[in-house]
């Protein structure tokens, strides 16, 4: 490929040449095509902008997040709804069973705290129901707490409550033949009889000092005695139980005997790890996409009371103890911003954990799917960089194509011009461009005519030149006779004029005819007249006078010969 046009010298040379003689046809054609390419590209960019292709990344991301949110919200609602129902059922059965066991032992439910020696027996009798309820549920723990303590003499007796808390350490394993269930709270004998280990952080009783899951449902039940259990269950925000490291959300409901006495609570928990395993969003596009179930306070999300699942660690955000402020945007995602500028984009939807009429109906929860702001920006920028790169490549290809096409287009024209400049158009090769070949053909024909015409003219002029040249061969005597002939004298008049015999004149005439290559006096006069006409024509040109109209032929170079005047 010829790359000379790429060199600086070439460009300067062409530019200087252009300044002097105007732009060459090739550059004009290239510029024309370039304008065309740029126009098309501008059109494409305008279409991309109008159709929102440059912001398509945001739209696609929004669709993705919306799908994830719908999916997560549906699953969360189902899981928490089912657990709420199971908690109510568990409470009904457990209340009956405990009342029955207590009656058999002669212990009135309302006076459980007065019979601590019976608590182990009463609680142990509920193990099977608790164990199977845990296995049936999609939860990580089941518990019940009685409003009594095994040792009322201890200092912690006013906040230590007896009960049982079983934890399923592998809740994500479905239908495990040997479930990994351990005793988290409760009498150790229950674990030993049933071959269950004690948790590392096992305690015999519950510390209910900071236990809304214990106090709130019982208070609600005492305050709203008309409400059924389905309006009394309570979901705690994500919390870490005393002396433990796992975050849990607990659903608890009061234990109420047949007389309406509230004597404890029971329920299930969902650990942070189980929530994470159960509601992991698909991270095909955004690695750090994450799902949140959080309590809503006004226009803020409390992440430190949330369950989180996904590829983003919210530990640092939670530690800052600052809620996420929700802000609606006009066109797309919501933004979720913390006071320390940690920002996320995403969508949220309400999750109803309580039915209408619930004692806790004012507790609002949201499911949200969020992306760190920098990830979304990077994703959109990446898409647009790709798009702009593709457009740039197209522009470069267009410029290359313009160069190539202009060169290819000009090649036959240049060839045609070279052909036209050549000596013999009739023998010129075809350019295979009909218009150019027609022009060459026309020029070849026209040139031939011009040539023939010129040749004819040159022929006559060459005879005159020869005639003039031959006059130099005449002797002085013959030149005198010739001059008189040229003035129209006859042979006899010349003999008289020169005082010579007619025979001498005839002899000179014969020599003159031979030297001038003519045969008669008439022929000689014809030449003389022609020379006079040419002489007159040249004089008129020199004086600026138009040649006579009947002078059809233009003089040629031979006209420069001086007229014969001697």
């Amino acid at each position: 490929m010829n790359t000379r046009w790429l060199t600086k010298d070439y460009v300067i040379e062409r530019f200087e040449s252009s300044v002097e003689s105007g732009l060459p046809l090739g550059i004009r054609l290239f510029l024309l095509l370039l304008v065309l390419v740029i126009t098309i590209m501008l059109g494409v960019i305008a279409i991309l902008i109008i159709t929102g292709t440059f912001t398509a990344g945001v739209s696609e991301s929004e669709k993705l997040v919306e799908n994830e949110l719908n999916h997560a919200a549906a699953e969360i609602s189902q899981q928490y709804g089912e657990l709420s129902v199971q908690t109510i059922e568990f409470s009904k059965q457990l209340s009956q069973n405990i009342e029955k066991t207590a009656q058999q032992l002669g212990v009135p439910i309302a006076k459980l705290e007065e019979h601590p020696d019976r608590l182990e027996e009463i609680i142990a009798a509920q193990f099977d129901q608790a164990y199977f309820s845990l296995q049936k549920s999609k939860s990580t723990g089941v518990f019940f707490i009685l409003d009594a303590t095994v040792n009322p003499r201890l200092n912690n007796a006013n906040y230590s409550r007896a009960g049982l808390y079983l934890k399923n350490m592998e809740p994500n394993i479905i239908s495990a033949s040997t479930p990994n269930i351990i005793v988290f709270r409760g009498f150790p004998s229950i674990g030993r009889i049933n071959s269950l280990s004690l948790d590392t952080q096992w305690k015999m009783e519950f510390d209910v000092r900071q236990a809304p899951y214990y106090h709130l449902p019982m208070e609600a039940a005492r305050l709203h005695q008309e409400l059924p259990l389905s309006r009394l269950y309570y979901w705690t925000p994500a919390t870490t139980l005393p002396d433990t490291s796992d975050e849990v959300m607990i659903c608890s409901v009061p234990l109420i005997d047949s007389q309406g006495n509230v004597f404890g609570v029971c329920g299930f928990d969902v650990s942070g790890m189980f929530f994470k395993l159960s509601h992991m969003p698909h991270q095909t596009v955004f690695n750090r996409l994450f799902c949140v179930l959080a309590p809503q306070t006004g226009s803020t999300l409390n992440l430190n009371q949330s369950m989180v699942s996904g590829g983003y660690s919210v530990r640092n955000i939670i530690q800052s103890n600052s809620p996420l402020i929700i802000k609606e945007n006009k066109r797309s995602f919501y933004s979720y911003r913390q006071s320390n500028n940690s920002a996320f984009w995403g969508l949220h939807t309400p999750v109803r954990l309580y039915p209408e009429g619930s004692a806790f109906a004012n507790e609002k929860w949201l499911a949200a799917v969020l992306i760190p702001e920098e990830d979304l920006v990077a994703s959109v920028a990446k898409l647009n960089v790709l798009l702009i790169s593709l457009l740039s490549i197209l522009v470069l290809l267009g410029i290359g194509a313009s160069l190539f096409i202009s060169q290819r287009f000009l090649r036959p024209i240049s060839k045609g011009l070279e052909i036209i400049k050549s000596d013999d158009l009739s023998r010129a090769p075809l350019t295979k461009v009909p218009e150019i070949d027609d022009l060459i053909s026309y020029l070849a024909t026209h040139n031939q005519e011009l040539y023939e015409s010129a040749r004819e003219k040159n022929f006559s002029i060459s005879i005159l030149d020869e005639f003039v040249n031959n006059t130099d061969k005449l002797s002085p005597s013959e030149r005198s006779v010739y001059n008189l002939y040229a003035q129209g004298y006859t042979a006899k008049e010349i003999a008289d004029s020169l005082f010579l015999s007619i025979n001498t004149i005839k002899t000179h005439t014969k020599h003159i005819y031979t030297k001038l290559n003519i045969n008669s006096r008439e022929e000689l006069l014809l030449y003389v007249n022609l020379l006079e006409e040419i002489s007159n024509y040249q004089e008129s040109i020199a004086d600026g006078v138009e040649p006579p109209e009947n002078s059809s032929e233009k003089p040629t170079a031979v006209d420069c010969l001086p007229p014969f005047t001697q």
Binding site: T149, V150, N151, L154, S160, F187, P188, G191, R192, S195, S197, L198, T200, Q201, W202, K203, M204, E205
Partner: protein, 289 residues
Amino acid sequence: MDDLHTFEGIARTAALYYDWTDQQTPEVAGDGKAFFLPDSLFNYSLMGVIQLGSEFIRDDRIDTATPEFRKVWDYYYKLAVLGQAAIFDGYATDLAKTGDIVCSIGSTAGVSFFSPTVTYADNTSEPAELAILPYPIFEGGKKTAVQRGAGMSVIKSSPEKAQAAAVFLKWFTSPENNLRFVSSTGYLPVTEAAFGDLMSQEIEHTSDHNIRKLLQTCQLMEEDYEFYIPPLFEGIDQLQIRYESQFRDTASQSRDSYLDSLASSDSRSAYEAVSADAYQNFVDKLAGK
């Protein structure tokens, strides 16, 4: 504490502890408490036999015909029947949490399962301090301890993932990173280099007292002990479960019989009566006869 370096010393201490606890309630006879529990009867038996210079497993079976095996078997059986060792299908740490034992033989990784308090049946509790000693040996035996535990495997996948797994394992098992794992889990290091200066630095800097004690003991054992890696063969896990279950069942049944016999005879006679055929019954049962 020096007695606890040998099994014989542990047995002497267990007898003393049983008597002492029995005396705490003079009104109730024979309610002494168990002193200790080996976490895995399989590992206990394996190492006892190896320490005494014999083989526990031959041709993928437990060799019950050696006097060394009989000695090891009798040791636990007797303490269990007498109530000086616990019979328990679970980890010793569970019993330690409630004060039902005060000594256990177990995995290094068990260190994180010990509670800093002991809670008794009446919900009273008291703080407990953990002492960690090298693996006990039978008197006259070799200082040998078993090296078994959790491992890692790479699932067959793409070459890229296999490469990534190898890179991770190299990172994970490098002495510095391995020690971080060791000091948070109690597992033993996988390289000798990790036992040296790095472990000394970790001992100096760790805030977990139990981990500090564990690492100090591990350093001692790394110098004085040989680590024995038992043979691996198909079915060893089932064999272990069967062995332990039958050993516990035998001890438990004998313990019940022993307690029943105490009503009509003294301790020695009662033990001799219940233990007469126990070993042979155990061996026959293990052999599937």
